[in-house]
Amino acid sequence: MRILKTALAVTTALSFTTLANATDLEVTHWWTSGGEAAAVAEFAKAFDATGNKWVDGAIAGSGGTARPIIISRILGGDPMHATQLNHGRQAEELVEAGLMLDLTDVAEAGGWRDVVNPVRLLDGCTSDGKVYCVPVNIHSPQWLWLSHEAYKTAGIDVPSDWFQFVESAPKLTEAGIVPLAMGQQSWQTNLAFGAIMVAVGGTDLYLDVLTNKNAEAAASAEMTKVFEAYAAARLLSEGSNVQDWNQATNLVITGKAGGQIHGDWAQGEFQVANQVAGTDYTCLPGLGVNEIIATGGDAFYFPKQDDPEIEKAQKELAALMISKEVQVAFNLKKGSLPIRGDVDLSAANDCMKKGLAILAAGNVLPDGVNAFTADTQGQLDDLMVEFWNDTSITVEDAQSRYVGIIKDAD
């Protein structure tokens, strides 16, 4: 009898420990499009394999919908266990307020400083020498995506850079194809502006404006050229009335539009549609003019909890997200570049390989999301979407407003 009781006690104890090990972590993110969801599933799969459980808290509608929810929950003392946020300046205040878990020990154990490439990404997560977030991928916005089908219909060759693309536009229009697909949301027009700025204005101008917030550079004649190119580009998108970026990408996939200026995450959509880089579509980093990559990207933060079990699982997830296998699996699905240079990405397609080569050569720029505050970014979004859609606004007018915003940027 006593033996039975002890056995029982042991088994209950055992089952208790297994229960304690299996921690549910609630993870909030706004990755809900086809390619994005497939990528998140890789995280979830890997985390579930450790015996814990990934509780998915997806909220569609980009950061604007998700952010108030994330911040409210953190402020209200009932935070989720992990959450996507753009690193850099967006989460600064939450870190300063001591609401985020310090991941320094995980980072040191994993040697993050040695493996993360470019190391700037880790700097974006670091505050006062402590690490607060896990960068999971690199996204660069300055790509031009071109539809082979559209160019076949128009009977011309696929352009190899932005200037050729602009030249080819009238032919596309004749064939009844919209030259440039553009989603109506403001951030997409601002993204296109950044891309044209790198291509037409060059990297020096880009760095001077974004990093130094140099208002004189923003008012310079080179910048006027950028605005002129942008003003010309807006005429190419007439007839593209879609809202979301992936609807615009879909116009390119189906050959209804010639091209789209968009980030490399568009690649995930091509992949879901079974398109092959090089045969069905072409991608041109830096619009094919200046082959560079701006190192934007996503990161995960881990709000502080008062339960040590959860904290342990949070750190486990943090280490997992940056591990080699997970990085490869995740980024292949997401269409983004891994944040570590020491992984084997032979499975990558042409576009990703282009990106990896540029990354290896060190041709990297900071991204607007990291360089500007969300506030400045919002002002630029507003300006660009207005300028793009209202042809009555002149180049001079737009540029002077731009200079004003850069002047006030902090």
Partner: protein
């Protein structure tokens, strides 16, 4: 007494049309017919679209009936549509929505009806001022209140915990933020202005003699409320219920902020289905999801019919 009030509102009171086929009648029915078309058009489009396959939708005729009828979009919207990595459609939110709906509707109506009763029959110094402030509150965009309310809920949750721990040392931490009760309180607060207005107007219209007689008989505040006011207020309670069911069922913002993924209401899934585009916008699934989500309030509207107008009549006529 209740009967006489009811009969006053029962039938139409407008001028009587004379002949069946008079020119006036043709104009009236003609206009109403056109009006009904305008109101029905979107519903028709929604239903037709939800029964079509995507290839047919791409052809472009949104007003045509489906050539090949399919219930696939409905199945997908209910059980297969993806939210992040969970692909079980709206179904996972349905019971959550019910769990949120029932206590929220009950509490908000209970409080608002007592408010209206106090404002109409037991005026005290300052009661009109509080009422004006309440009406002012109806104009504040909800989103502006999110952060202050989050902070208030956190603090009052902690306050309750402290009180509880004062009596029992190991009382668990009580949370308003992130719990069902927090959400119920928020719905009660934001439903209060309009509901109180309706109840106040309704109770003002109850004949004074009735109230006076009860007072002379010695009935007090709650006695009159439960024995006289409640039994004769069915219509206005129906109106309040309809308004609250609609509002709370359709709410996305509070539902997503004050709950967790396991308890997200149906509207969160709807938002995710509608806003997450997987390549092409699947209009048919969106429409089916929309109809499924709207089903509960729609059924209540269709079922309540006459009671709704009667209640509104009773609640809004006298100010």
């Amino acid at each position: 007494m209740a009967d006489t009030t009811a009969t006053t509102f029962e039938g139409p009171s407008g001028p009587k049309p004379k002949r069946a086929f008079s020119s006036t009648n043709i104009i009236i029915y003609g206009t109403l017919f056109v009006v009904c078309l305008y109101y029905l058009l979107p519903l028709y489009v929604m239903i037709m679209t939800s029964l079509k396959g995507m290839p047919e939708i791409r052809l472009g005729n949104i007003f045509g009936p489906p050539v090949e009828m399919t219930f696939e979009p409905w199945v997908k919207a209910w059980a297969e549509a993806c939210t992040g990595i969970n692909c079980d459609g709206l179904s996972r939110g349905f019971s959550n929505s019910i769990w949120i709906l029932v206590p929220s509707v009950f509490l908000s109506i209970a409080i608002a009806s007592v408010n209206g009763y106090a404002l109409a029959n037991w005026k005290f110094k300052g009661s009109e001022v509080f009422f004006t402030i309440l009406i002012f509150g109806a104009f504040i965009p909800y989103q502006v209140m999110i952060y202050p309310i989050v902070i208030l809920l956190r603090e009052s949750g902690d306050g309750i915990t402290n009180v509880m721990q004062f009596f029992w040392e190991d009382a668990p931490r009580f949370r308003l933020m992130g719990s069902l009760w927090g959400l119920v309180i928020v719905h009660t607060i934001f439903g209060m202005p309009i509901l109180t207005l309706l109840f106040r107007n309704y109770f003002t219209s109850v004949p004074e003699d009735l109230f006076k007689a009860a007072r002379v008989d010695g009935a007090r505040f709650w006695g009159i409320y439960f024995r006289i006011m409640l039994p004769m207020s069915l219509p206005i309670f129906v109106v309040a219920m309809i308004l609250q069911v609609t509002g709370i069922w359709n709410d996305f913002l509070f539902g997503v902020i004050y709950t967790k993924p396991e308890t997200y209401p149906m509207t969160v899934q709807l938002n995710n289905i509608v806003n997450s585009v997987q390549g092409v916008k699947e209009y048919n699934v969106n429409m089916a999801a929309t109809l499924l989500t709207g089903l509960v309030p729609l059924i209540i509207y269709f079922a309540s019919g006459k009671l709704f107008v009667r209640g509104i009549a009773a609640g809004a006529v006298k100010g």
